[in-house]
């Protein structure tokens, strides 16, 4: 295992310390329980937007704490959802009297911990709403399973809910906008290489030189299907077509599009994928209104990419375009 770390059991805390030093103008960190919070929290009368989840997906979530996006992030251990204690402490830190919104990715662990946190917050008189993100089209959407995983769309929800909260909308309104985001977005990812959880020291799966995994999540878990290594355009075809057909995105749809790197893939390759995705959108008459290309929701050093697309109207675009000032997203 080759990593720039000191001790596998301290990676989350040490990196939080570095984050705090590097972005002291935007955020501060709290330990035991661990959370990252906007420098100016709590803001009276403003809905507090909170997300969280396992670490190892940086910059998500901590890198999106700041003006116009998250009020707080609760980083769990690597790939392990945070505890209710963390979430409750973060809720206290950001609650300005207008309630808090939890943006929760659809994993059993995240849901259970955020649900318990919500119960505890409500017991203490803090109003809570939750938005569930479950955008991964690689996973079957069935009543008899845990449903679809929450992946790249989380960034979109954090940006858009953050903007709405910053504009002073009510908790119910911000939550409603978050649910619209959740309905309109779809994602799918693939991996060229696995990743190594520091405390484990071994890759969670292995792939031969000529193999790849299609339909992976963001926790180093194997995907839905192993396949021989394809060219970038063929991979893009598979991911994009599955996404297009699922929502579906149609001729005339307008979309915000993200080509996301899993952590170990060079930016150059992500642009190669974006290039073909744009060609496919052109061919289908889908208009790309905004885009992100880069590492936004990663799996440690995994090589690979994911595509996220969300159908938008002018209102969602306005929230997207609203100013944001965080370590990893700013305009």
């Amino acid at each position: 295992m080759k990593k720039l770390i000191n001790d596998p059991s301290n990676v989350v805390e040490e990196s939080m310390k570095g984050l705090a030093r590097a972005h002291a103008d935007l955020l501060r960190v709290h330990f035991d329980p661990n959370y990252v919070v906007r420098i100016d929290a709590p803001r009276g009368g403003k809905v507090g937007v909170i997300s969280g989840g396992g670490s190892g997906h940086e910059p998500m979530h901590s890198g999106f704490v700041g003006y116009g996006m998250l009020d707080a992030a609760c980083p769990g251990p690597i790939f392990t959802s945070p505890t209710p204690e963390q979430v409750v402490a973060a809720a206290h830190a950001v609650n300005g009297g207008a309630g808090v919104l939890f943006i929760v990715k659809n994993y059993t662990g995240d849901i259970l911990n955020f649900d318990i946190a919500a119960e505890l917050c409500r017991d203490e008189g803090i109003e809570v709403e939750s938005v569930l993100i479950h955008d991964d089209v690689a996973v079957e959407d069935s009543l008899y399973t845990a449903g679809r995983r929450g992946v790249g769309l989380t960034i979109f929800a954090e940006k858009i809910c953050g903007a709405a909260a910053e504009a002073g909308l009510s908790l119910a309104q911000v939550a409603a906008i978050g649910r619209t985001v959740s309905e309109r977005g779809r994602s799918m990812g693939m991996a060229l290489t696995p990743c190594i959880v520091p405390a484990v020291g071994q890759p969670t799966f292995t792939l031969k030189e000529d193999e790849m995994e299609i339909g992976i999540g963001i926790h180093g878990e194997p995907g839905r299907q192993r396949s021989r290594l394809l060219r970038a355009d063929e991979i893009t075809d598979i991911l994009a077509t599955t996404i297009f057909d699922d929502l579906p995105f149609r001729h005339g749809s307008e979309a915000i599009v993200m080509v996301n790197g899993m952590g170990g893939t060079p930016l150059m390759e992500l642009y190669i994928v974006f290039r073909h995705l744009a060609e496919l959108c052109d061919a289908r008459g889908i208009a790309i209104r905004r885009s992100l290309v880069g590492n936004y929701i990663t799996s440690l050093e995994m090589a690979g990419c994911s595509i996220t697309m969300m159908e938008v109207d002018d209102e969602l675009l306005r929230w997207w375009d609203a100013p944001v000032r965080t370590p990893a997203l700013r305009w």
Binding site: P77, S81, P84, L112, E221
Partner: protein
């Protein structure tokens, strides 16, 4: 006939220390099981929680079993995270609710408390038998425990039967396709692997059987020569 064990604080703490030891010993194994169909952290998660439980119980004094179980439950809830933290946390919190104000449990009370805990797990996670989760080990264990007590077995014997049921339940997860938790994302690829949570749950029941039978033997030895 073996004397009835007194399920009091010391026995339950012994249960937890044995469970902590087994979790730590089997940390890599549990993580490896989770690597196959999950995200390779179950052993790490459980060890983080149970080491903290062990620390807190080292100086634990309160006789009230409700408080004891609540401490265990809250510790797991605030240290484990993931799916297993809230689930095991809930199990002990519910056992605590069932034990409030008591400093010892009868056989039947113990079985009922454990059943309440497992019921809490089912409610929290809404998993059913066959979903390939810890419920597949826990539920057969509490059902068998109650049955054996109804059949007038000693608590030690009943727990041994429950242990066997948990073990079978754990092994039965191998051919299952997961429909709850992270393994469900794998669809048919989840088949052929033993569920990590069912495995730690088996260790929980195994530890309980050991602690109870150990206490029973100690009591049996102690009784003929009362202080």
């Amino acid at each position: 006939m073996i004397s009835n064990v007194r399920v009091e604080s010391a026995v339950l703490i012994d249960w937890m220390l044995r469970f902590a030891d087994k979790i730590v010993e089997n940390k890599e194994m549990l993580t490896a099981l989770d690597a196959a169909i999950g995200d390779a952290d179950h052993g790490i998660n459980m060890a983080r929680g149970m080491e903290e439980v062990r620390r807190r119980l080292a100086t634990y004094a309160d006789d009230d079993l409700g408080a004891l179980f609540k401490t265990i439950g809250m510790t797991l809830l605030s240290k484990v995270g993931g799916a297993s933290g809230p689930l095991y946390g809930t199990l002990f919190l519910r056992m605590g609710v069932a034990s409030v104000g008591k400093s010892e449990l009868t056989d039947g009370q113990f079985a009922a408390a454990l059943a309440a805990g497992v019921d809490g797990v089912r409610q929290r996670g809404s998993a059913r038998l066959g979903d390939k989760t810890m419920v597949d080990a826990l539920l057969p264990a509490v059902v068998t425990l109650q049955q054996a007590l109804d059949d007038h077995a000693s608590l030690c014997d009943a727990m041994e039967a429950a242990r066997r049921a948990a073990e079978e339940g754990m092994k039965a997860t191998i051919p299952m396709q997961a429909s709850k938790g992270r393994a469900s994302y794998l669809g048919p690829r989840s088949i052929g692997h033993q569920d990590p949570g069912a495995t730690s749950a088996y260790l929980l029941i195994l530890s309980a059987a050991e602690a109870i039978c150990h206490a029973t033997r100690s009591d049996a030895i102690a009784e003929p020569h009362p202080g």
